[in-house]
Symmetry: C2
Subunit: 279 residues, 2 copies
């Protein structure tokens, strides 16, 4: 684990690291913000999963989350959205597949299956590393994300309710098995058997009857990807049908950018703090 | 004036524009954040001057200022740090001269004098444009900045106390006539006559006996440019000698980045709001 850079902000420490990931068989970058409270006692951890093309940097630079993490005494962790620079064929050909587009799944199709194991990375390897090396409370974690990372947060939390106390999302891809982004990614990473895709689709997971973990979702109504890729109406519908607890907040005028995230980040961190500070 | 992009955040509107600047004889970019209050009545304007290499984007993306501008009902304006792409000899050869390094002065040496007139741009042309086209209160302005832009804010406000109600700075270059950044810039833009330099040096302006406009300055003590380029001790000394009102806050552990700015931005906006919302 190698420290790339470190900055003080809001009296806490933001650090960028690289390490050799065992599950991805690749060098990966992540960032951790430790709030000032962590110098006297271990703190809970809130994981943020970013959207297409992002690295571990975008959230830490643009969201303004650290102000509220410092207020609530919560560590923040962000990570790259895929391994990079592996030399896999087509790896860098498009923004929505390969580098920067890991979709938070374990690929089963060659050659991606050797390196694209972001589900295991986010659920197992990275939390293990964080809990080994930093002053955080083991197992006291929540997760949220944006767009592709909103999809990641919702699906991984619903499938691992013993591992995450709470989940929320900004502008998530709610039903990737039903749109071009998801179909392209799942075909490439998982192959043509669509039954394998369902475990990576929030709407399908709720249909399948997962336990009723509450979902908090914010969505901008001026989002350029709203109708084609994000489809909040599908999440509303399936949650209504299956009585799955959902708070969906839709906001006129807001787009898909980090400006949207920064406008509602305070609410999300307060929401997770409510769970993470329950003993 | 051409709109490049627009985003809603904190219930206000952030817009990026390009226009043909008369004083700079060049295309310039600026950004304006209009808080939600501006839809019902004109609001005051707080101008932010960025540091070396920055464009109008950095502050708007990284500072988190809009949250507090929205709270206090103040518009924020940022602008590029120089004209660009003019084809002047050596324009893009270094990070600290030419493109991205206008130093908020009116160049008097050819060929820069034709296009590098950032003092007139910030003090006259841009406020004129803003007050003509947006719902803001004419003449109700304050200014702040970072690094080279901290130098710009302090010098321009001290020389134009009728035009700016208040001034503050993060990590300003306090005495550019005494360090390599300033000497290189002033030699290139103004020539060898050092008497011309003094009007662009905060320490020299205070020595010359400007009216006692209060200064608020925040400085990180882990700033990589602290001793060689920023030299807060020179500002402390000259303000002490000349009884010039100064609040200098020095912060252990903080560096020169926007993470530092974002940590103390709330205080600066509250400070300016106190002046901008008088009477």
């Amino acid at each position: 684990m190698q420290l790339s850079s470190q900055h003080t902000l809001h009296d806490g420490q933001l650090s960028f690291y690289r390490h050799e990931s065992t599950v991805n068989q690749a060098s990966m970058g992540f960032a951790i913000y430790l709030p000032p409270q962590s110098t006297s006692k271990p703190v809970p951890v809130l994981y943020f999963l970013s959207g297409l093309t992002c690295t571990e940097e975008n959230f830490m630079i643009k969201s303004g989350a650290q102000r509220f993490a410092a207020k609530h005494g919560i560590a923040l962790v962000s990570m790259d959205t895929s391994p990079r620079n592996l030399g896999l064929p087509g790896e860098d050909d498009s923004y929505d597949f390969g580098s920067g587009a890991g979709f938070y799944l374990n690929a089963s199709k060659e050659p991606w299956s050797r390196h694209y194991r972001m589900e295991d990375y986010v659920v197992k390897e990275l939390p293990g590393l964080i809990e080994e090396h930093f002053p955080v409370q083991p197992g006291n974690r929540s997760v949220f994300g944006h767009s592709m990372g909103g999809h990641g947060a919702l699906t991984l939390a619903l499938k691992n309710q013993d591992k995450f106390r709470s989940v929320s999302a900004f502008s998530p891809i709610t039903a990737p098995t039903q749109n071009e982004w998801g179909i392209k990614a799942f075909t490439g990473y998982l192959g043509d058997d669509r039954t394998l895709w369902r475990q990576y689709d929030t709407v399908e997971l709720i249909k399948s009857g997962v336990a009723p973990m509450p979902l908090l979702v914010d969505q901008g109504l001026a989002d350029e990807f709203l109708t084609e890729y994000l489809q909040p109406e599908k999440l509303l519908e399936v949650c209504e049908q299956h009585k799955h607890p959902l708070t969906m907040r839709q906001h006129a005028g807001y787009d898909h950018s980090y400006y949207f995230i920064s406008s509602f980040i305070e609410d999300h961190i307060s929401y997770h703090a409510g769970y993470l500070h329950q003993d």
